[in-house]
């Protein structure tokens, strides 16, 4: 049984990643815009010397972390509501899943119609006299990007969290109450530790999806909204500096690997 999955992983994941790694050591001739296969650390030196890459990477990590934390905060009450408060749980889950049936692009564009100058939000703010003129600050900003990411990745946090919450035996919550814990302390000492694997599973999804995205910055971001994914995209699609693009990709992979190591330290991955 292990054989086919090893082949699958090898052909579709490990080989491409290995090629990317090899390519990051190739030489780029910027004058003739060609690459040759002479091994060099030149592209990594370029990465280290230009603060642009470090700044954009740091900014992307911060945004991914912010989106993840926000999604945890939003998903908890929603998942708890579906798990404990409603009888038709499958209907609640369906409502969470339905947005996933539409294209990611559609959902990102939807935020353009909401946040745009002639968008729903601006019309409402003007109608209610909170603003005198429609604001152009809502769209094409880091905030718009943050809102969009938080929204489109939310189901990936809700689903594992719901699954984890549903597995918490009600008797454990009663036992905690019985032993003198009030609501917030039951939450902190019993519910959160028990659903931690679910939170981490969801966080891996929201964090890595944000880390790798380059569509939303283009659709909703402002002039300073480039993420690390956009830099990689530029190297492959614009300047044709594939070795640099590969080197940046390796950097992103290293960040994600660190994140996974941290996650596995909590023991949550074994429990899944």
């Amino acid at each position: 049984m292990l054989g086919p999955s090893v082949v699958w992983l090898g052909v579709f994941y490990l080989v491409p990643l290995a090629l990317l790694l090899v390519q990051s050591f190739w030489t780029y001739d910027s004058v003739n815009v060609v690459t040759n296969q002479t091994p060099t650390l030149d592209r990594y030196r370029a990465l280290a010397s230009d603060p642009l890459y470090r700044d954009v990477l740091w900014k992307t990590v911060r945004l991914a972390a912010l989106v993840t934390v926000t999604d945890i905060a939003l998903a908890f009450p929603l998942a708890a509501f579906i798990a404990f408060r409603i009888r038709r749980k499958s209907l609640g889950l369906l409502l969470v899943i339905i947005p996933l049936w539409s294209s990611y692009l559609v959902r990102a564009y939807a935020w353009r119609t909401i946040l745009g100058t002639d968008g729903v939000l601006n019309n409402f703010l003007v109608w209610s006299h909170i603003l005198s003129h429609p604001s152009s600050a809502l769209l094409f900003s880091n905030t718009a990007m943050y809102i969009t990411f938080t929204h489109v990745w939310l189901p990936f946090m809700v689903l594992p969290l719901y699954t984890a919450l549903e597995k918490v035996p009600p008797s454990l919550m009663e036992a905690a109450r019985d032993l003198g814990a009030n609501g917030p302390r039951v939450f902190r000492h019993v519910i959160v530790p028990l659903v931690l694997p679910g939170i981490i599973a969801g966080s891996i999804a929201t964090f890595s999806l944000t880390m790798g995205d380059y569509i939303t910055p283009g659709l909703l971001g402002g002039p300073d909204s480039n993420l690390i994914g956009n830099l990689i995209f530029t190297q492959f699609g614009g300047t044709l500096d594939w070795p640099l693009g590969s080197a940046i990709s390796m950097l992103v992979l290293a960040v994600l690997a660190c994140f996974l190591v941290l996650a596995s330290r909590t023991g949550a991955l074994e429990a899944q």
């Binding site: 035996p169 008797s171 454990l172 009663e174 036992a175 905690a176 109450r177 019985d178 032993l179 003198g180 814990a181 009030n182 302390r185 000492h189 019993v190 530790p193 028990l194």
Partner: protein
């Protein structure tokens, strides 16, 4: 001792007054009143669905009663949540926290009370020693046997020194031998720590061997409350007589009553005299309840010599004899209408099936139940 603690010591440990609980149209607990004394081991006994667990959950605070009041140590707690009540529960499935080790499990209640670390450690060690699990504090609950988990659950509740310990069928998941040992241990704990125990079970043997008093429940009501002996010797209703141990029931009508003894006409058996505290009018249909082990069976050709004035004697035909090791169980027909089960100690000789036999028992051993 201050006056207030003295007054408190006089108050019952737990008092339920007219407590009811309805779930939709279903009445789970129906007008239950109950007074539990300090340090008492009281058992709520009944079949599943009789309301015993719901009653316990009402005392714990997990269920809000639809009507009635609950007092613990004289204080009204009806509206208080579980974390504000000085009671602790041992759950049926133990409900140990899987993400904490044993010491953390046992110390949870003390931590919630914000005790100092040294205090918590000392009291956890004491509680672990009390249930004979010293030195296992670093283990996780999953590394323990069912019996050990049970003892951790006990320690986790007792360490808080609650006024009342509530136990919801705590021995249900254990095998018979372990159950016997734990019954003894629980009884011993109750006597040594001086905490009131309210124990829920459907196992009559457990109830009889452990309890100071037993409340027999059915259909959300308490049918009878008393010591094991009172319940067994003088069941108040047919349900109680049938649920606690085994009983024969002879159906008949009252023909006479005098000084707490009624005479009942039973088809096939003639006039049977039985204990009957209150006067019942002639002609009222009743049952006579009689324990199988209180009947003496003899071959009928033997003269009924030595039959005292306080005894009933009937004749019948032996239908069946079952060999059960230490006892022999007989089925005896009294004509077509009635049949008695008799259980005798195995003294080495069994009566022959098909023979006529003579049965006798003391008037004090049978009682009249109004149908």
């Amino acid at each position: 001792m201050s006056v207030s603690t003295y007054m408190n010591a006089e108050a019952p440990s737990v008092e339920l007054r007219g407590v009811s609980k309805r779930f939709g149209s279903v009445s789970a607990v129906d007008d239950v009143s109950l007074t539990v004394r300090k340090g008492e081991f009281l058992t709520l006994l009944g079949p599943s669905g009789c309301g015993k667990t719901t009653s316990l959950r009402i005392v714990a605070g997990f269920e809000r009663p639809s009507g009635g009041t609950i007092h613990i140590d004289g204080q009204a707690v009806t509206a208080l949540p579980p974390n504000k009540r000085n009671v602790n529960t041992v759950f049926q499935n133990y409900a140990l926290f899987p993400h904490m080790n044993l010491a953390e499990n046992v110390g949870f209640g003390l931590r919630m009370k914000r005790l100092g670390r040294a205090d918590i450690e000392r009291r956890v060690d004491e509680a672990m020693a009390l249930v004979r699990l010293e030195g296992l504090g670093k283990r996780k609950p999953t590394q323990l046997s069912g019996g050990q988990q049970q003892r951790v659950a006990l320690a986790r509740a007792l360490v808080n020194r609650p006024a009342v310990l509530l136990l919801d069928e705590p021995l249900g998941a254990l095998d018979l031998k372990l159950r016997r040992a734990m019954q003894f241990e629980l009884r011993h704990l109750n006597q040594s720590v001086g905490i009131t125990f309210i124990y829920v079970t459907h196992d009559q043997e457990e109830a009889l061997t452990m309890s100071d008093r037993i409340a027999v429940m059915s259909g959300g009501r308490i049918l009878q409350i008393g010591t094991a002996q009172e319940i067994y010797e003088a069941p108040a209703t047919r349900f109680v007589a049938d649920f606690i141990g085994e009983s024969n029931f002879l159906e008949g009508t009252i023909s006479d009553w005098e000084n707490g003894v009624a005479t009942v006409d039973v088809a096939g058996a003639g006039a049977i005299r039985a204990r009957c505290v209150d006067r019942i009018a002639t002609g009222i249909p009743v049952s006579v309840a009689l324990r199988p082990e209180r009947i003496i069976i003899e071959p009928s050709e033997q003269p009924a010599a030595g039959v005292g004035a306080g005894e009933n004697v009937v004749r019948g035909r032996l239908l069946e004899a079952v060999y059960a090791g230490s006892t022999l169980q007989y089925a005896v027909s009294l004509g077509d209408a009635a049949q008695l089960i008799v259980r005798s100690p195995n003294l080495g000789q069994a009566a022959g099936v098909g023979n006529d036999v003579s049965l006798r028992w003391s008037i004090a051993d049978c009682s009249v139940l109004v149908a």
